[in-house]
Symmetry: C2
Subunit: 452 residues, 2 copies
């Protein structure tokens, strides 16, 4: 047995559900389906029940206890009735459940220890004719049931555990990683987990995979996996370039040096104040933190806004002449944009380059603007023949930037409104330590020990 095979065998023992687990889940799903069918029989409309998701496909990782049931209504049913009937069936199946809302309401609850979602959808003829995103899901299950066998399903479990271990599993907008469906398609595409790793090692982004050979749209993403049920959809649309690279890195590492580590999420020891101070001293940088109460929105809204804000703050600082070493954004009770700067203070003057002297009116206007201004050095002519002045900076400190200029940078909507009302705090240098610990002790631990 190769090293890789031995490692994989040990991982299989962790991720493969036991026969008892399978039987229990199948029995629970069956009882739920019967309940749903009984409720449907009471309705003045025909509908059927399909089990979807990883537990329908046999690709769930041992210990996962999610059952997803979709109730398919005729596609000509008005939306309000679909919602009403769906809620009615949901309440009958999960009397202790509650409604949640995606594109339309669905019912979520627990049943015999399983987390159950009961989702109404339209029974359309093809995934390309869907009326709502959830209508597509049954087609995914059908496609995979046709293409997966027990061996591939087991390899999907390995793949999921691998991606969890390296921190890129999940198509939520915080992770920007790989969905379960994407794992399934990749394992099917390459014919197994190890073959998939071998293929990933050679990826040259942008990578395009089209299992059904029917791509009809072009995608500007580092990884494109055309949905076999919809030629215009990239299943990997949310996967970031960094996560594509991370998978590639770990595929290469695992193949060179197989280890169970890749299948185990890192959990760095939380960082205490002394350790954080020691890193800041060692790096001799200046940290800046913009801190606010986390906006009360779901994670898939919060994180894109937070990342956009981080990028906006970094861009703004750079445009003002600050040298950013690294930046991050985190959320817990509070949300934080954390920026590490080479220096938190700039000279009093900045070089302001104007137009080439040769551009006539425009150049003349620049010259006239500054010619009689005793507060600037110049205008003079640079080596390229452009007018230049050295003028006083508006903003000389990173803290000053964060306190007065955040309104000028691109921020996420809910963060922008907080900033507009001054409802945020700015910390610079050592003050950052007390401000962020212990709330962000895990995030800071990862920050000071960054890994591929």
């Amino acid at each position: 047995m190769t090293d890789a095979a031995a490692v994989i065998e040990r991982v299989r023992q962790r991720v493969d559900p036991t026969p008892a687990e399978r039987r229990a889940l199948a029995a629970a799903a069956s009882r739920l389906t019967e309940r749903a069918e009984a409720a449907i029989a009471e309705l003045p409309v025909a509908a059927d029940v399909v089990q979807v998701g990883s537990t329908a496909r046999g690709t769930w990782v041992a210990g996962d206890r999610d059952i997803d049931l979709f109730v398919r209504f005729p596609s000509d049913l008005p939306r309000e009735q679909l919602e009403t009937y769906g809620t009615t069936v949901g309440a009958a199946v999960l009397p202790d459940g509650h409604e949640e809302y995606a594109e339309h309401p669905y019912v979520t609850g627990t049943f015999e220890g399983y987390a159950v979602d009961l989702v109404p959808c339209y029974d359309v003829a093809a995934a390309t004719e869907i009326k709502s995103a959830v209508d597509r899901t049954p087609f995914h299950t059908t496609y995979l049931q046709e293409h997966l066998d027990d061996g591939l399903a087991a390899d999907v479990r390995l793949c999921k555990q691998f991606l969890k271990g390296i921190g890129v599993y999940g198509s939520d907008l915080r992770t920007q990683g790989f969905s379960g469906y994407l794992c399934e398609l990749l394992v099917v595409e390459y014919g197994g987990f190890e073959a998939m790793l071998a293929a990933i090692e050679d990826w040259q982004p942008p990578v395009v995979i089209d299992p059904a050979a029917h791509q009809q749209a072009s995608f500007d993403d580092p990884l494109v996996v055309v949905d076999p049920t919809d030629p215009e959809r990239n299943v990997a649309a949310v996967v970031s370039a960094a996560n594509v690279a991370t998978v590639q890195h770990h595929a290469r590492r695992f193949r060179a040096t197989p280890s169970e580590d890749a299948f185990t999420p890192a959990s760095p020891a939380p960082l205490d104040a002394a350790a954080l101070r020691s890193h800041i001293d060692r790096r001799d940088t200046t940290p800046l933190a913009v801190v606010l109460d986390a906006p009360d929105v779901v994670a898939d809204q919060l994180y894109p806004q937070l990342y956009r804000s981080r990028d906006g703050v970094v861009r703004g600082l750079r445009e003002h002449g600050f040298d950013v070493v690294r930046a991050a954004a985190w959320a817990d009770e509070r949300a934080v944009v954390f920026v590490e700067l080479a220096s938190a203070e700039l000279p009093a003057v900045e070089r302001h380059v104007g137009p080439p002297v040769s551009v006539g009116t425009h150049a003349e206007r620049f010259y006239e603007t500054y010619a009689d201004d005793d507060g600037v050095y110049g205008p003079f002519v640079d080596d390229d023949g452009r007018y230049v002045v050295e003028r006083d900076r508006d903003v000389r400190t990173a803290g000053g930037f964060a306190r007065t200029e955040l309104g000028t940078v691109a921020l996420g909507a809910r963060i922008e409104s907080r900033v507009a009302s001054g409802d945020y705090d700015v910390y610079v240098g050592d003050a950052v330590v007390e401000a962020l610990l212990p709330e962000f002790e895990s995030e800071l631990a990862a920050y000071v020990d960054p890994k591929a």
Copy 2:
């Protein structure tokens, strides 16, 4: 009379030689020519004497007292004999003169208060057949005598005084400005001084002027004036882009607001230590000076080496992460590369971006280099999917850079050898003040009051 005409009239009174000055100069030139012809008569070879330069063309500025005589020998005369005969004639004409050496020796001395150069050259059929650069000069004089009249010659004097006033007169490699011959061609081309200013105001570099409409080479210069005596030569080759822009700036200023100031070189009051410190405080920058004894070479060798060294030091500092606000290079007894920095100190770590993870062997090698190095942060993967480490900087201070890294940057040859032997000093911050004053008090005065 327009404002411009009134200003120009006053300048003419300063720059036009008086009839007495003209007569005296013509008489002196005539006597020198007779002496030279007498000496030639003693030689076993035929030759003639031509007066060249601005005093031959009537374009000299009042007070200039230069007479240039060229002795033209047959083009088949061996070079050693040309040199011997030239020196013989020179010694006869200027018994108190001494030899200098350009492409070949010539004699320079004084005669009745005039500075006289007596230069041997070959009498070739056309400027394109020259054997040495000086052979071209008589053709320039012939061309201009055909194209200049008294009015244009007077406007050439205005042009020269204007370019002197704004600091761009002289084709030496320190100034990188306009030669007298170039002034003459421009005034002829545009038909007068004011017409020239009007044309310059509209220049869109690169500007190409070809008086004889015979250009045969292409030139990568911001200003091209094809020599009417040589289709492959750009008379304006040494003029820098900055000087083209400077002329354009002042042409525009003069036409908008005529003033005699443009015809008067600026002479800023020398800067004392208190004033320099006050500027440094006000700008809140850190000055750095690399100082050495000026290499003992002529200015046309020294300044290109000095400018190259300045550019090399600036590039090196930037490559090491320093933010350079402005830089300069000056020479007197000592030579100095002066650099003004936003900050003289950088963080302990620097971001070192490696290859994209996807590039296989190259990426793997980068990862392996740092994977087990406890001294770095990372390797991790950046947003673009590249490996990154944050590693300790080799050089954290600008002074350290100047003391240990100058050998790694492009320097002028004679400065490079000084640096190689450690024969230079580095000053940072306030120490620069005492180190550079009073020797560079004028240069520093101009530096802290930069003008177009």
